[in-house]
Amino acid sequence: MRAVKGDQKTRIALTLNGRKLAAEAEPRLLLSDFLRHGLGATGTHVGCEHGVCGACTVLVDGVAVRSCLTLAVQAEGREVRTVESLAAPDGALNPLQAAFRDHHALQCGFCTPGILMSFTDFLSRTPHPSEAQIREVLSGHLCRCTGYANIVAAIKEAASSSPASRSDAEEGDHPERA
Protein backbone atom coordinates (compact mmCIF):
# COMPACT_ATOMS: atom_id res chain seq x y z
CA MET A 1 0.00 0.00 0.00
CA ARG A 2 1.42 3.36 -1.10
CA ALA A 3 0.86 6.11 1.47
CA VAL A 4 2.10 9.70 1.46
CA LYS A 5 1.36 12.34 4.11
CA GLY A 6 -0.07 15.63 2.89
CA ASP A 7 2.95 17.72 3.89
CA GLN A 8 5.47 15.14 2.73
CA LYS A 9 7.28 15.23 -0.58
CA THR A 10 7.79 11.89 -2.23
CA ARG A 11 9.80 10.79 -5.22
CA ILE A 12 7.53 10.12 -8.20
CA ALA A 13 9.03 8.19 -11.10
CA LEU A 14 7.35 7.81 -14.48
CA THR A 15 8.20 7.45 -18.14
CA LEU A 16 7.87 10.72 -20.04
CA ASN A 17 8.04 10.44 -23.83
CA GLY A 18 10.11 7.28 -23.54
CA ARG A 19 12.54 8.54 -20.89
CA LYS A 20 12.44 7.36 -17.29
CA LEU A 21 12.34 10.48 -15.09
CA ALA A 22 11.62 11.31 -11.46
CA ALA A 23 11.04 14.34 -9.26
CA GLU A 24 9.77 15.16 -5.79
CA ALA A 25 6.14 16.13 -5.23
CA GLU A 26 3.47 16.43 -2.55
CA PRO A 27 0.32 14.32 -3.05
CA ARG A 28 -1.72 17.40 -3.95
CA LEU A 29 0.48 18.30 -6.94
CA LEU A 30 -1.41 17.99 -10.23
CA LEU A 31 0.19 16.07 -13.08
CA SER A 32 0.03 19.24 -15.21
CA ASP A 33 2.21 21.13 -12.70
CA PHE A 34 4.47 18.12 -12.17
CA LEU A 35 5.20 17.94 -15.90
CA ARG A 36 5.86 21.67 -16.22
CA HIS A 37 7.60 22.52 -12.96
CA GLY A 38 8.92 19.16 -11.78
CA LEU A 39 10.13 17.75 -15.09
CA GLY A 40 10.48 20.95 -17.13
CA ALA A 41 8.19 19.75 -19.93
CA THR A 42 6.39 23.01 -20.63
CA GLY A 43 4.72 21.95 -23.89
CA THR A 44 1.64 20.94 -21.91
CA HIS A 45 -0.42 24.08 -21.25
CA VAL A 46 -2.61 24.84 -18.24
CA GLY A 47 -5.89 26.64 -18.82
CA CYS A 48 -8.88 26.24 -16.54
CA GLU A 49 -7.62 23.68 -13.99
CA HIS A 50 -11.03 22.06 -13.65
CA GLY A 51 -11.23 19.87 -16.71
CA VAL A 52 -13.24 22.12 -19.00
CA CYS A 53 -10.81 23.62 -21.52
CA GLY A 54 -8.71 20.57 -22.48
CA ALA A 55 -5.45 22.52 -22.94
CA CYS A 56 -3.57 20.22 -20.53
CA THR A 57 -4.59 16.93 -22.21
CA VAL A 58 -1.80 14.31 -22.26
CA LEU A 59 -1.65 10.57 -22.83
CA VAL A 60 -1.30 8.30 -19.80
CA ASP A 61 -0.66 4.72 -20.89
CA GLY A 62 -1.80 5.73 -24.36
CA VAL A 63 -5.12 7.23 -23.30
CA ALA A 64 -5.98 10.95 -23.50
CA VAL A 65 -6.71 12.44 -20.08
CA ARG A 66 -6.80 15.86 -18.45
CA SER A 67 -3.49 16.28 -16.63
CA CYS A 68 -5.12 18.91 -14.38
CA LEU A 69 -7.61 16.25 -13.22
CA THR A 70 -4.85 13.75 -12.46
CA LEU A 71 -2.57 13.84 -9.45
CA ALA A 72 1.12 13.42 -10.19
CA VAL A 73 1.23 10.53 -7.72
CA GLN A 74 -1.53 8.77 -9.71
CA ALA A 75 0.76 8.75 -12.75
CA GLU A 76 3.52 7.02 -10.81
CA GLY A 77 5.01 4.21 -12.89
CA ARG A 78 2.88 5.11 -15.90
CA GLU A 79 3.88 6.02 -19.46
CA VAL A 80 3.09 9.68 -20.07
CA ARG A 81 3.21 11.22 -23.55
CA THR A 82 3.08 14.93 -24.19
CA VAL A 83 3.19 17.18 -27.25
CA GLU A 84 7.01 17.14 -27.08
CA SER A 85 6.90 13.52 -28.33
CA LEU A 86 5.15 14.24 -31.62
CA ALA A 87 7.76 15.83 -33.87
CA ALA A 88 10.82 13.87 -35.08
CA PRO A 89 14.14 14.52 -33.30
CA ASP A 90 15.18 16.83 -36.17
CA GLY A 91 12.05 18.91 -35.61
CA ALA A 92 10.08 17.55 -38.58
CA LEU A 93 6.37 17.76 -37.79
CA ASN A 94 4.33 14.57 -37.70
CA PRO A 95 1.35 14.29 -40.13
CA LEU A 96 -1.17 15.62 -37.61
CA GLN A 97 1.01 18.60 -36.72
CA ALA A 98 1.77 19.27 -40.40
CA ALA A 99 -1.94 19.22 -41.22
CA PHE A 100 -2.58 21.77 -38.44
CA ARG A 101 0.06 24.05 -39.96
CA ASP A 102 -1.21 23.57 -43.52
CA HIS A 103 -4.83 24.34 -42.57
CA HIS A 104 -4.05 27.27 -40.28
CA ALA A 105 -5.65 25.24 -37.48
CA LEU A 106 -3.98 27.33 -34.79
CA GLN A 107 -3.38 30.97 -34.17
CA CYS A 108 -2.07 31.62 -30.65
CA GLY A 109 -1.37 27.91 -30.12
CA PHE A 110 -2.35 27.78 -26.48
CA CYS A 111 -4.97 25.04 -26.90
CA THR A 112 -3.06 23.14 -29.59
CA PRO A 113 -0.94 20.72 -27.51
CA GLY A 114 -4.04 19.32 -25.82
CA ILE A 115 -5.95 18.94 -29.08
CA LEU A 116 -3.00 17.19 -30.72
CA MET A 117 -2.76 14.71 -27.84
CA SER A 118 -6.52 13.99 -27.82
CA PHE A 119 -6.46 13.20 -31.52
CA THR A 120 -3.25 11.18 -31.23
CA ASP A 121 -5.27 8.84 -28.99
CA PHE A 122 -8.53 9.10 -30.93
CA LEU A 123 -7.08 8.57 -34.43
CA SER A 124 -5.13 5.53 -33.21
CA ARG A 125 -8.46 3.97 -32.15
CA THR A 126 -10.58 5.38 -34.97
CA PRO A 127 -8.44 5.83 -38.09
CA HIS A 128 -11.37 6.87 -40.31
CA PRO A 129 -13.61 9.07 -38.22
CA SER A 130 -16.69 10.85 -39.50
CA GLU A 131 -16.83 14.62 -39.16
CA ALA A 132 -19.42 14.16 -36.40
CA GLN A 133 -17.02 11.94 -34.46
CA ILE A 134 -14.22 14.48 -34.87
CA ARG A 135 -16.48 17.27 -33.62
CA GLU A 136 -17.60 15.16 -30.65
CA VAL A 137 -13.98 14.63 -29.51
CA LEU A 138 -13.11 18.26 -30.29
CA SER A 139 -15.98 19.34 -28.01
CA GLY A 140 -13.63 18.41 -25.15
CA HIS A 141 -11.44 21.40 -26.06
CA LEU A 142 -11.86 25.14 -26.13
CA CYS A 143 -10.13 27.23 -28.81
CA ARG A 144 -10.75 30.99 -28.80
CA CYS A 145 -8.89 31.85 -32.03
CA THR A 146 -9.90 29.57 -34.85
CA GLY A 147 -13.63 28.92 -34.76
CA TYR A 148 -12.77 25.20 -35.03
CA ALA A 149 -13.49 24.82 -38.78
CA ASN A 150 -9.79 24.71 -39.69
CA ILE A 151 -9.05 22.29 -36.85
CA VAL A 152 -11.71 19.90 -38.18
CA ALA A 153 -10.27 20.24 -41.70
CA ALA A 154 -6.74 19.52 -40.44
CA ILE A 155 -7.83 16.41 -38.53
CA LYS A 156 -9.79 15.12 -41.53
CA GLU A 157 -6.73 15.50 -43.72
CA ALA A 158 -4.41 13.86 -41.18
CA ALA A 159 -6.83 10.94 -40.88
CA SER A 160 -7.12 10.44 -44.64
CA SER A 161 -3.41 10.87 -45.44
CA SER A 162 -1.79 8.80 -42.71
CA PRO A 163 -0.38 5.54 -44.12
CA ALA A 164 -0.95 3.86 -40.78
CA SER A 165 -4.62 4.73 -40.90
CA ARG A 166 -5.04 3.34 -44.42
CA SER A 167 -3.61 -0.03 -43.43
CA ASP A 168 -5.81 -0.04 -40.33
CA ALA A 169 -9.06 0.45 -42.18
CA GLU A 170 -10.60 -2.71 -40.73
CA GLU A 171 -10.11 -1.58 -37.14
CA GLY A 172 -13.66 -0.25 -36.97
CA ASP A 173 -14.95 3.21 -36.34
CA HIS A 174 -16.07 2.93 -32.74
CA PRO A 175 -14.39 5.79 -30.93
CA GLU A 176 -14.61 4.39 -27.44
CA ARG A 177 -12.30 1.40 -27.36
CA ALA A 178 -10.71 1.75 -23.94
Partner: protein, 272 residues
Protein backbone atom coordinates in the same frame (compact mmCIF):
# COMPACT_ATOMS: atom_id res chain seq x y z
CA UNK B 1 -6.60 26.69 -8.48
CA UNK B 2 -4.75 23.95 -6.63
CA UNK B 3 -6.03 21.51 -3.99
CA UNK B 4 -5.33 22.01 -0.31
CA UNK B 5 -3.00 19.37 1.20
CA UNK B 6 -4.38 15.88 1.86
CA UNK B 7 -2.88 12.52 2.74
CA UNK B 8 -2.81 10.06 -0.16
CA UNK B 9 -3.23 6.31 0.22
CA UNK B 10 -3.28 3.75 -2.58
CA UNK B 11 -4.41 0.42 -1.12
CA UNK B 12 -3.93 -2.83 -3.02
CA UNK B 13 -7.11 -4.62 -1.94
CA UNK B 14 -10.74 -3.88 -1.09
CA UNK B 15 -10.12 -5.09 2.48
CA UNK B 16 -7.48 -2.40 2.90
CA UNK B 17 -9.91 0.23 1.57
CA UNK B 18 -12.59 -0.87 4.04
CA UNK B 19 -10.11 -0.67 6.93
CA UNK B 20 -9.12 2.86 5.86
CA UNK B 21 -12.78 3.93 5.56
CA UNK B 22 -13.53 2.46 9.01
CA UNK B 23 -10.64 4.49 10.40
CA UNK B 24 -11.20 7.81 8.62
CA UNK B 25 -14.97 7.83 7.87
CA UNK B 26 -16.17 11.08 6.34
CA UNK B 27 -12.71 12.65 6.62
CA UNK B 28 -11.79 10.43 3.66
CA UNK B 29 -12.82 10.57 0.01
CA UNK B 30 -12.59 7.75 -2.49
CA UNK B 31 -10.57 8.64 -5.60
CA UNK B 32 -11.43 6.47 -8.61
CA UNK B 33 -11.33 8.42 -11.90
CA UNK B 34 -11.28 11.78 -10.15
CA UNK B 35 -13.21 13.56 -12.91
CA UNK B 36 -15.72 15.02 -10.45
CA UNK B 37 -13.58 14.86 -7.31
CA UNK B 38 -10.45 16.62 -8.56
CA UNK B 39 -12.33 19.64 -9.97
CA UNK B 40 -13.94 20.03 -6.53
CA UNK B 41 -10.50 19.74 -4.89
CA UNK B 42 -8.99 22.23 -7.34
CA UNK B 43 -11.83 24.70 -6.71
CA UNK B 44 -11.50 24.02 -2.96
CA UNK B 45 -15.17 23.13 -2.66
CA UNK B 46 -14.14 20.14 -0.53
CA UNK B 47 -11.26 19.63 1.86
CA UNK B 48 -10.78 15.94 2.68
CA UNK B 49 -8.04 14.81 5.08
CA UNK B 50 -7.36 11.61 3.16
CA UNK B 51 -7.77 10.47 -0.44
CA UNK B 52 -8.08 6.71 -0.92
CA UNK B 53 -7.11 5.87 -4.50
CA UNK B 54 -8.90 2.72 -5.67
CA UNK B 55 -8.06 3.08 -9.37
CA UNK B 56 -5.42 0.32 -9.40
CA UNK B 57 -7.38 -2.35 -7.54
CA UNK B 58 -7.79 -5.04 -10.19
CA UNK B 59 -10.76 -6.76 -8.51
CA UNK B 60 -12.76 -3.51 -8.93
CA UNK B 61 -11.91 -3.13 -12.63
CA UNK B 62 -14.32 -5.77 -13.92
CA UNK B 63 -17.59 -5.86 -15.85
CA UNK B 64 -19.65 -9.01 -15.36
CA UNK B 65 -22.83 -10.18 -17.01
CA UNK B 66 -24.45 -12.70 -14.73
CA UNK B 67 -28.03 -13.95 -14.59
CA UNK B 68 -29.37 -11.07 -16.69
CA UNK B 69 -27.61 -8.38 -14.66
CA UNK B 70 -24.70 -6.27 -15.83
CA UNK B 71 -22.42 -5.55 -12.85
CA UNK B 72 -19.89 -2.75 -13.25
CA UNK B 73 -17.02 -2.52 -10.77
CA UNK B 74 -15.91 0.69 -9.05
CA UNK B 75 -12.72 1.15 -11.07
CA UNK B 76 -14.35 0.65 -14.51
CA UNK B 77 -14.16 3.78 -16.65
CA UNK B 78 -17.12 5.08 -18.62
CA UNK B 79 -15.29 4.46 -21.91
CA UNK B 80 -14.45 0.89 -20.90
CA UNK B 81 -18.17 0.16 -20.40
CA UNK B 82 -19.05 1.96 -23.63
CA UNK B 83 -16.48 -0.15 -25.50
CA UNK B 84 -18.11 -3.41 -24.36
CA UNK B 85 -18.88 -5.16 -27.67
CA UNK B 86 -22.42 -6.33 -26.84
CA UNK B 87 -23.52 -3.32 -24.82
CA UNK B 88 -26.15 -2.17 -27.31
CA UNK B 89 -27.73 -5.66 -27.27
CA UNK B 90 -27.57 -6.15 -23.48
CA UNK B 91 -28.44 -2.65 -22.41
CA UNK B 92 -29.46 -0.37 -25.26
CA UNK B 93 -30.23 2.59 -23.04
CA UNK B 94 -26.75 2.50 -21.46
CA UNK B 95 -25.26 2.47 -24.95
CA UNK B 96 -27.46 5.42 -25.92
CA UNK B 97 -26.82 7.50 -22.80
CA UNK B 98 -23.12 6.93 -22.07
CA UNK B 99 -21.84 9.03 -25.01
CA UNK B 100 -23.44 12.05 -23.32
CA UNK B 101 -21.36 11.56 -20.15
CA UNK B 102 -18.68 14.24 -20.11
CA UNK B 103 -16.22 14.28 -23.00
CA UNK B 104 -14.21 11.53 -24.72
CA UNK B 105 -11.22 12.70 -22.66
CA UNK B 106 -13.00 12.61 -19.27
CA UNK B 107 -14.72 9.28 -20.03
CA UNK B 108 -11.24 7.80 -20.47
CA UNK B 109 -10.70 8.28 -16.74
CA UNK B 110 -14.09 8.93 -15.16
CA UNK B 111 -15.76 5.86 -13.68
CA UNK B 112 -19.35 4.66 -13.88
CA UNK B 113 -19.59 4.20 -10.10
CA UNK B 114 -17.88 7.53 -9.40
CA UNK B 115 -20.51 9.47 -11.32
CA UNK B 116 -23.26 7.62 -9.47
CA UNK B 117 -21.51 8.32 -6.13
CA UNK B 118 -21.14 12.01 -6.99
CA UNK B 119 -24.92 12.25 -7.57
CA UNK B 120 -25.12 15.44 -9.58
CA UNK B 121 -28.85 15.83 -10.29
CA UNK B 122 -28.42 16.52 -14.00
CA UNK B 123 -25.76 13.88 -14.70
CA UNK B 124 -26.57 10.98 -16.97
CA UNK B 125 -25.45 7.89 -15.04
CA UNK B 126 -27.75 8.36 -12.02
CA UNK B 127 -30.60 8.84 -14.51
CA UNK B 128 -29.63 5.66 -16.38
CA UNK B 129 -29.43 3.70 -13.12
CA UNK B 130 -32.90 4.97 -12.15
CA UNK B 131 -34.30 4.03 -15.57
CA UNK B 132 -33.02 0.47 -15.16
CA UNK B 133 -34.20 0.20 -11.58
CA UNK B 134 -30.62 -0.84 -10.83
CA UNK B 135 -28.86 -1.08 -7.52
CA UNK B 136 -25.66 0.05 -5.83
CA UNK B 137 -23.51 -2.51 -4.01
CA UNK B 138 -21.91 -1.16 -0.83
CA UNK B 139 -19.22 -2.86 1.24
CA UNK B 140 -18.00 -1.97 4.70
CA UNK B 141 -16.40 -3.88 7.55
CA UNK B 142 -19.95 -4.21 8.91
CA UNK B 143 -21.07 -6.13 5.83
CA UNK B 144 -22.43 -5.85 2.33
CA UNK B 145 -25.73 -4.44 1.08
CA UNK B 146 -27.36 -3.66 -2.23
CA UNK B 147 -29.39 -0.44 -2.30
CA UNK B 148 -31.99 0.17 -5.04
CA UNK B 149 -31.38 3.28 -7.16
CA UNK B 150 -34.51 5.02 -5.87
CA UNK B 151 -33.25 4.72 -2.28
CA UNK B 152 -29.60 5.42 -3.08
CA UNK B 153 -30.01 8.84 -4.67
CA UNK B 154 -31.60 11.06 -2.04
CA UNK B 155 -30.98 14.60 -3.20
CA UNK B 156 -28.44 16.85 -4.89
CA UNK B 157 -24.97 15.34 -4.16
CA UNK B 158 -26.56 13.26 -1.39
CA UNK B 159 -26.72 9.47 -1.32
CA UNK B 160 -27.46 6.62 1.08
CA UNK B 161 -23.77 5.69 1.34
CA UNK B 162 -22.53 5.62 4.94
CA UNK B 163 -19.10 7.16 5.61
CA UNK B 164 -17.45 3.75 6.13
CA UNK B 165 -18.93 2.24 2.96
CA UNK B 166 -17.28 1.71 -0.42
CA UNK B 167 -19.36 1.43 -3.58
CA UNK B 168 -17.84 -1.73 -5.05
CA UNK B 169 -20.17 -2.02 -8.04
CA UNK B 170 -23.43 -0.95 -9.61
CA UNK B 171 -25.89 -3.36 -11.21
CA UNK B 172 -27.97 -2.71 -14.30
CA UNK B 173 -30.63 -5.34 -15.10
CA UNK B 174 -30.21 -6.25 -18.77
CA UNK B 175 -33.13 -5.40 -21.04
CA UNK B 176 -32.29 -6.82 -24.42
CA UNK B 177 -35.47 -6.13 -26.39
CA UNK B 178 -36.25 -2.58 -25.51
CA UNK B 179 -36.63 0.46 -27.76
CA UNK B 180 -34.82 3.39 -26.21
CA UNK B 181 -34.01 7.06 -26.71
CA UNK B 182 -31.81 9.52 -24.85
CA UNK B 183 -31.57 13.25 -25.39
CA UNK B 184 -30.31 16.20 -23.46
CA UNK B 185 -29.80 19.92 -23.70
CA UNK B 186 -26.40 21.29 -22.65
CA UNK B 187 -24.60 24.51 -23.51
CA UNK B 188 -21.85 22.45 -25.20
CA UNK B 189 -21.91 18.72 -25.96
CA UNK B 190 -20.30 17.00 -22.99
CA UNK B 191 -21.03 19.75 -20.49
CA UNK B 192 -23.46 19.16 -17.67
CA UNK B 193 -26.95 18.79 -19.04
CA UNK B 194 -29.56 21.38 -18.15
CA UNK B 195 -32.16 18.68 -18.79
CA UNK B 196 -31.53 15.05 -19.77
CA UNK B 197 -34.43 12.81 -20.81
CA UNK B 198 -34.53 9.06 -21.40
CA UNK B 199 -37.31 6.82 -22.70
CA UNK B 200 -37.65 3.05 -22.86
CA UNK B 201 -40.50 1.08 -24.44
CA UNK B 202 -40.96 -2.59 -23.60
CA UNK B 203 -42.63 -5.24 -25.72
CA UNK B 204 -46.13 -4.40 -24.37
CA UNK B 205 -45.88 -0.80 -25.56
CA UNK B 206 -45.63 0.79 -22.11
CA UNK B 207 -43.19 3.70 -22.06
CA UNK B 208 -41.04 4.66 -19.09
CA UNK B 209 -39.69 8.20 -19.08
CA UNK B 210 -36.89 9.53 -16.93
CA UNK B 211 -35.52 13.03 -16.42
CA UNK B 212 -32.43 14.50 -14.82
CA UNK B 213 -32.12 18.18 -13.98
CA UNK B 214 -35.71 18.78 -12.82
CA UNK B 215 -35.23 17.83 -9.17
CA UNK B 216 -32.47 16.97 -6.70
CA UNK B 217 -32.31 13.48 -8.13
CA UNK B 218 -33.45 11.67 -11.28
CA UNK B 219 -37.17 10.97 -11.59
CA UNK B 220 -38.93 8.31 -13.66
CA UNK B 221 -42.56 7.78 -14.62
CA UNK B 222 -44.55 5.30 -16.68
CA UNK B 223 -46.56 7.09 -19.37
CA UNK B 224 -49.47 5.63 -21.30
CA UNK B 225 -48.93 6.49 -24.95
CA UNK B 226 -52.11 6.05 -26.96
CA UNK B 227 -51.43 8.91 -29.32
CA UNK B 228 -49.26 12.03 -29.49
CA UNK B 229 -51.91 14.23 -27.85
CA UNK B 230 -52.41 12.01 -24.78
CA UNK B 231 -48.64 11.66 -24.39
CA UNK B 232 -48.24 15.44 -24.55
CA UNK B 233 -50.93 15.86 -21.87
CA UNK B 234 -49.25 13.34 -19.56
CA UNK B 235 -45.84 14.94 -20.07
CA UNK B 236 -47.23 18.42 -19.48
CA UNK B 237 -48.83 17.33 -16.23
CA UNK B 238 -45.57 15.67 -15.16
CA UNK B 239 -43.60 18.86 -15.87
CA UNK B 240 -46.02 20.90 -13.72
CA UNK B 241 -45.76 18.41 -10.86
CA UNK B 242 -41.96 18.38 -10.95
CA UNK B 243 -41.81 22.19 -11.11
CA UNK B 244 -38.06 22.29 -11.79
CA UNK B 245 -35.76 24.88 -10.25
CA UNK B 246 -33.98 28.11 -11.09
CA UNK B 247 -30.22 28.29 -11.39
CA UNK B 248 -27.56 30.08 -13.41
CA UNK B 249 -28.24 27.92 -16.47
CA UNK B 250 -32.02 27.96 -16.71
CA UNK B 251 -35.17 29.07 -14.95
CA UNK B 252 -37.75 26.55 -13.70
CA UNK B 253 -40.10 27.72 -16.47
CA UNK B 254 -37.45 27.04 -19.09
CA UNK B 255 -36.74 23.60 -17.59
CA UNK B 256 -40.43 22.65 -17.76
CA UNK B 257 -40.54 23.81 -21.37
CA UNK B 258 -37.40 21.80 -22.23
CA UNK B 259 -38.87 18.71 -20.54
CA UNK B 260 -42.13 19.00 -22.49
CA UNK B 261 -40.28 19.25 -25.80
CA UNK B 262 -37.54 16.67 -25.16
CA UNK B 263 -39.91 14.13 -23.61
CA UNK B 264 -42.27 14.41 -26.58
CA UNK B 265 -39.30 13.77 -28.86
CA UNK B 266 -38.05 10.67 -27.06
CA UNK B 267 -41.57 9.26 -26.76
CA UNK B 268 -41.98 9.68 -30.52
CA UNK B 269 -38.61 7.98 -31.09
CA UNK B 270 -39.47 4.87 -29.06
CA UNK B 271 -43.05 4.70 -30.36
CA UNK B 272 -41.91 4.28 -33.97
Amino acid sequence: MKPRPFDYVRPDTVDEVLALLAEHGDEARILAGGQSLIPMLNLRLIDPAVLIDISRIAELDTIRSDGGVLEVGAAVTQNKLLARPNLAQESALLAAGLPFVGHFQTRNKGTVCGSIAHADPSSELPLLLAMYGGEVVLHSQRGIRAVPAKDFHKDMLTTAREPDELIVAVRFPERPRERVAFREIARRHGDFAIIAVAAAAGANGAVTLGVGGMAGRPVTRAVAVHDAASAADAIGQWAEELEGYDDLHASATMRRDMLRKLAANVVAEVAQ
